[in-house]
């Protein structure tokens, strides 16, 4: 007997999960583990399978193949009302005929929790989302943000193993959405429940999540911390989906252990970090984020120059659109404090060796 087993049971374990609707494959062979207490997000464009994945965890859809487990228990054939998960719906789906209190108490009443405990837990949940005093309001009388918080309280009051959130901020305006992001993260930290959050907004996911999964066309493209996904994207799709990316085509001439020498078209030989296992001679794309592409007025030794098309001042940053003759359009970003380069002027472009990332070109 070894007492040193450190493997924890994942809160959610998807093993080889597939979902087909008729001819349409919504989710392809998905393997994914969400750890207890994690704020996990699934991001991707609409139709990428993220909502279907969430619905399979909730039990609203049955996987065509594979297995869904929650807290180590196989959920195959378990109906939604028997699963230890709760959902915050995109439309909130608050019960229009019940007031805030009864909406929040709904799950507890279904679970036949004693009256006294219902009172305590509902009051707790309502104060958690700061809706004291609105207990007897109908959902219709509340603002979008308040309805959102009722939906959260209604789900959290049941103390689920996992809270599933399906684009819960989608219906709110930008300012409220930013506010709610902070509140959601605080809430998750204070209750310690595993959050599985689905959104198409990568910024939203990045700001709150411990880890992010990026899906496209039913396939899981990458799982990692927001920094991983942003700075070390596994595919061109991920690189583009999570932010703006400058791409340079090239070929690996030499390299091992994560740093390669790449002959970049129109620029020349450079050292670029990348994932292990890219063979010599492979066609690759070097990805450089705009904020890592420095534009300086002086000619520099590496010889990559570009013409300024225009600059856009966004407050905290200024983005500069550039035309580099053989390479096409590029984007550079810098702090908004400096002076804007004049359109038409020539700049030289540089990046630090470890501020680029290599992606093997697919077909």
């Amino acid at each position: 007997m070894t007492a040193t087993t450190t493997t924890t049971t994942p809160a959610v374990d998807l093993a080889g999960v597939e979902k087909q609707f008729g001819d349409l494959v919504a989710v392809r062979h998905l393997d994914l583990q969400i750890q207890p207490g994690e704020f996990f997000s699934i991001i991707g464009p609409s139709g990428c399978g993220k909502t279907t994945t969430l619905r399979m965890v909730a039990g609203f859809e049955d996987p065509t193949a594979g297995r869904v487990s929650v807290s180590g228990k196989d959920m195959t054939g378990v109906r939604p009302y028997r699963r230890p998960v709760n959902t915050v719906f995109q439309s909130y789906a608050l019960f229009p005929h019940l007031d805030v209190y009864e909406n929040v108490a709904f799950g507890l009443r279904e679970a036949r929790v004693g009256k006294a405990e219902v009172r305590v837990r509902v009051a707790e949940a309502i104060s958690l989302v700061q809706l004291e005093g609105r207990e007897s309001s109908r959902p219709r009388k509340l603002s979008g943000g308040q309805q959102q918080r009722v939906a959260l309280a209604r789900a959290l009051v049941n103390r689920p193993d996992v809270l599933l959130l399906d684009e819960p901020l989608g219906a709110l305006d930008l300012k409220l959405r930013t506010e709610m992001q902070t509140q959601l993260k605080d809430l998750q930290r204070s209750v310690g429940v595993t959050f599985c959050y689905v959104t198409h907004d990568q910024g939203e996911a990045f700001s709150m999540s411990d880890r992010v999964a990026v899906m496209n066309l039913g396939l899981l493209e990458q799982v990692g911390t927001p920094e991983d996904v942003y700075h070390r994207p596994a595919s061109l799709f991920v690189a583009d989906f999570v932010g703006k990316a400058n791409r340079f085509r090239g070929r690996v001439t030499d390299g091992s252990s994560g740093v390669y020498t790449v002959d970049i078209d129109g620029i020349g030989s450079r050292r670029v970090p990348g994932p292990d296992g890219i063979p010599s001679g492979a066609e690759v794309v070097v990805v450089v984020r705009p904020e890592n592409l420095r534009a300086t007025p002086a000619e520099s030794r590496n010889g990559l120059t570009a013409t300024v098309i225009d600059a856009a001042f966004l407050g905290a940053v200024r983005t500069i659109r550039l035309q580099a003759a053989p390479l096409g359009e590029l984007t550079s970003a810098a702090g908004g404090a400096g002076a804007a380069p004049a359109p038409g002027s020539t700049v030289s472009l540089t990046w630090d060796e470890n501020h680029a990332w290599l992606i093997q070109a697919g077909d």
Binding site: A58, G59, F60, R79, P80, Y81, R82, V85, N86, T87, F89, Q90, S91, A93, L94, F95, P96, H97, L98, F106, G107, E110, A111, R138, R140, R154, A155, N158
Partner: protein, 274 residues
């Protein structure tokens, strides 16, 4: 020229109003009139009410009418609610057919349905009488009930039942605690409407009553065939008051219940159906 300012507009409107209301006022006044021939005011009496109350035909008629009205409203609601539940998940084509059948029942003259049912029941040897009338009333009452219930259903978020299931409610509990409860205002209104429609129906009842007891409106029709007595006025006023009360309840209920859900935001009785 503004039609409202036309010199004929005001007198014409007044004439129409008089035309509509004077008979009702005459009925109301005469129900308290001691003069049997109703040629003038003979003095105040409640004699006709007592006469009507003790009239065996009227009592049986009222009882028959109430039984038919309650039974056909309940049946109509059942048809409307189950139909609406199916309708929500039906394909657009199937929905169009279903909606068409509803409108057909509202648009086609009642006498057409009554005749058709009459011949159908004869053909299949279904005996005419109370049950036949209840079925007849349900045929068109359920159409009105369906319109009202569907309007509410269309305004309900389809995710509500999933939310209930997510919170631990079995399908039956979810239906009862969420779907049915959220539909309840519409169900009450539809029920009251079906009740009043059935309560004062003559055509279908006459066609389908066979040898059974006549409902009240048919009894009244029979009474005025022989002679008009102030007793009929008394009955008329009572029926009027009763119907107005039930309909007012329906309208009030719809107005209040409208504030509960998304369906209600559209508000008035006029745009109940979209």
């Amino acid at each position: 020229m503004n039609i409202r300012r036309h010199p004929v507009a005001a007198p014409l409107s007044l004439l129409i109003l008089l035309f509509m209301w004077v008979p009702l006022i005459v009925v109301a006044v005469n129900s308290f009139n001691t003069q049997t021939i109703m040629a003038g005011w003979g003095g105040f009496t409640t004699h006709w009410y007592s006469l009507a109350w003790h009239n065996e035909d009227v009592r049986t008629g009222l009882k028959t009418t109430l039984i038919i009205a309650v039974a056909s409203s309940v049946l109509s609601l059942f048809v409307a609610v189950t139909g609406a539940l199916w309708w929500r998940r039906a394909s657009p084509k199937a929905r169009a057919v279903y909606d068409g059948l509803i409108f057909a029942r509202i648009i086609l003259p009642e006498v057409v349905f009554a005749t058709a049912l009459f011949f159908l029941f004869l053909k299949i040897h279904f005996s005419l009488g109370l049950t036949a009338i209840v079925i007849g009333h349900t045929v068109w009452n359920s159409a009105y009930a369906a319109l009202i219930v569907q309007a509410r259903m269309a305004g309900l978020d389809p995710a509500l039942e999933e939310a209930a299931a997510d919170l631990g409610a079995t399908p039956w509990r979810a239906f009862r605690r969420v779907t049915l409860s959220a539909l309840m205002p519409a169900i009450v209104v539809a029920g009251l409407l079906a009740f009043t429609f059935s309560f004062d129906d003559v055509v279908t009842s006459v066609f389908l009553q066979g040898a059974s007891n006549s409902p009240l409106p048919v009894v009244i029709l029979g009474m005025i065939r022989f002679r008009i007595t102030p007793e009929i006025n008394a009955i008329g006023l009572l029926v009027m008051l009763f119907t107005v009360t039930v309909m007012s309840l329906a309208v009030i209920f719809y107005a209040t219940a409208g504030s509960l859900g998304r369906a209600g935001r559209r508000g008035s009785m006029l745009d109940m159906y979209r």
